[in-house]
């Protein structure tokens, strides 16, 4: 359902994604992991259309979407949960969920969605999606805005960041439900072992390149390059 062919991306003269190719089947769950700065978020943004690759192609359900805008891809069935949630002045949590759902959700429906990300809805629905919410709250609202859409492909960028244990268990349940109910495909960028463990495949990114694709069940440790941090600081 998703295929990347030789995707390259550069910014500010820096080659960030190098010749990325992979396929994701319908209903599959892949995890992308790798060191900070290896290009994981950039890869997700290229799939969503937020960044345009300088070469290579992206296919979604057989259609070449390389030159499609963000909203075209969104309407075709791609969703993306930001690593750093965006804040808004004046747009409430309820507004954001309505926009995601493309309908006016009743308070009850909106509550149910928030409950799946561990937020007690009554106290959140009318809050603005702004800096008065904590990082973890914003992150969960971001995830809620994505799962509300129930699209064929959903990309989560480090969803575990700022989320407590209770919600974390829920998050895993959410992933499982998305796969069962929607036959949806999921890409999760994560460092969390528990998320990596439930993935069908783990894509290991290193310096903008796919270093390894590890099938479910195989140990990952041996593939993670151990980098001596001190070498980075050498002048």
């Amino acid at each position: 359902m998703l295929e990347l062919k030789n995707v390259n991306f550069s910014a500010d003269g820096k080659h960030i994604l190098k010749d990325i190719s992979f396929k994701l089947g319908a209903g599959k769950f892949i995890a992308i992991t790798g060191p900070n700065g290896s290009g994981k978020s950039t890869l997700a943004k290229v799939i969503m259309g937020i960044e345009k690759p300088e070469s290579g192609q992206i296919f979604f359900n057989g259609e070449d979407v390389t030159n499609y805008t963000i909203d075209q891809r969104a309407r075709m069935g791609i969703s993306f949960g930001f690593q750093q949630p965006v804040r808004f002045k004046g747009i409430t949590v309820h507004d954001l969920l309505n926009l995601s759902a493309k309908e006016k959700l009743s308070s009850k429906d909106a509550c149910n969605i928030l409950a799946t990300v561990g937020l007690c809805a009554n106290s959140y629905l009318d809050r603005e999606v702004n800096a008065s919410l904590s990082g973890g709250e914003l992150k969960r609202i971001e995830i809620a805005s994505v799962i509300t859409r129930g699209t064929a492909l959903t990309i989560f960028d480090e969803p575990e960041a700022g989320i407590d244990l209770w919600s974390f268990n829920n998050l895993i349940r959410v992933f499982n439900e998305m796969r069962e109910k929607l036959a949806g495909s999921i890409i999760v960028i994560s460092h969390q072992e528990r998320i990596l463990n439930i993935a069908d495949e783990i894509v290991l990114l290193s310096e903008g390149r796919i270093a390894k694709i590890v099938p479910h069940g195989e140990p990952l440790e041996s593939f993670i390059p151990v980098q001596d941090v001190r070498t980075c600081c050498k002048l």
């Binding site: 969503m48 937020i50 805008t69 963000i70 909203d71 969104a74 309407r75 969703s79 993306f80 930001f82 965006v86 804040r87 808004f88 002045k89 004046g90 747009i91 409430t92 507004d95 926009l99 995601s100 493309k102 805005s145 994505v146 859409r149």
Partner: protein, 310 residues
């Protein structure tokens, strides 16, 4: 002046500025084309026309609760220059809503002016919610000009919230608001302005926090589009133990221009005053986020603007 027949412009303007489909119930005073046309009073709220100049005195009896005073103004004749003086006397512990608004329909080539000079005198413990909408329309080359002047005198432990909105069609406006706040009294001002074309909007706030534990919160949210210009000047003086917070948030588009001039003066060591101002384009990441949930770029932009001005 008892029977009032509203034409279609009057009705549309009333709807726009006061959300009224009909003549309101309760206390009201409707002013049209520079003339008072209808006044209604209640046992608790008296409205008396001024003798020496255009305008009315509004007296709200002490302990009045839950009543609304409507004072809409509509102008449909081109070239009117209307200045009106309205004084509000709010009795002790009264709690009322004042719904004001001015709508101008100008199809002619002459400028239409309306200047509402409002003075509020709040007695001890009284509470006022003042809601005001300014709106202009019409195809003429004549300008629609509104220059409101507001004076607020707040007695002990009184509270006042003023919500002013100007979203469309006013070519030029200079708003002047002066407030003197007494012991334990609290003033909240929220203004929302959107300007288009070559419009000009200027707001001047001067607040004297004279009372012990007096408070003021001013929030201005504005959007300047096309070639319009906005200027926001605030001047808060902390003359006692007090709290003042001024927040000016502006979005600029096209060639819009916004000037924000803060002035906070602490004349007392226990004064606590904050000014925050931010001017900028709509954040690109906000548009991107809304596009990732399926909105087009222009849908995303209007959602962001609607939310900002909500």
């Amino acid at each position: 002046m008892d029977k009032v027949v509203l034409d279609k412009f009057d009705s549309a303007l009333l709807k726009a500025v006061a959300d009224l489909d009909n003549m309101p119930t309760g206390a009201f005073s409707l002013r049209r084309n520079g003339q008072p046309v209808k006044v209604n009073i209640t046992p608790n709220i008296n409205i008396i026309p001024k003798k020496d100049k255009p305008g009315i005195d509004i007296y709200v009896r002490a302990d009045t609760k839950g009543e609304t005073v409507h004072i809409p103004v509509v102008i449909t004749e081109s070239g009117i220059n209307d200045v009106v003086y309205n004084d509000f006397y709010i009795g002790k512990n009264a709690d009322v809503i004042i719904n004001a608004g001015c709508g101008i329909h100008n199809d002619g080539c002459n400028d239409t002016h309306h200047n509402g000079i409002h003075r509020f005198f709040l007695d001890e413990g009284s509470k006022v919610l003042y809601v005001e909408k300014h709106y202009g329309e019409g195809d003429g080359s004549g300008k629609r000009v509104l220059d409101p002047v507001t004076e607020v005198h707040m007695g002990k432990n009184s509270s006042c919230e003023m919500r002013t909105t100007q979203i469309k069609g006013v070519d030029s406006t200079i708003r002047t608001t002066n407030a003197v706040i007494g012991d334990g009294a609290s003033l909240v001002i929220t203004e929302k302005i959107m300007t288009h074309g070559d419009q000009l909007a200027e707001t001047n706030f001067k607040v004297d926090l004279d009372g012990f534990d007096s408070k003021v919160q001013v929030t201005s949210r504005s959007i300047a589009t096309e070639n319009s210009t906005q200027k926001f000047v605030s001047n808060v003086n902390g003359n006692n133990q007090c709290f003042g917070h001024v927040e000016c948030d502006a979005i600029i588009k096209d060639h819009g221009k916004v000037i924000s001039i803060p002035e906070i003066t602490a004349n007392c060591v226990d004064a606590n005053l904050i000014h925050e101002a931010a001017i900028g384009k709509i954040a690109g990441e906000q548009i991107i986020k809304l596009m990732t949930i399926g909105l087009t770029e222009s849908e995303a932009e209007s959602e962001i603007i609607n939310g900002f001005l909500k």
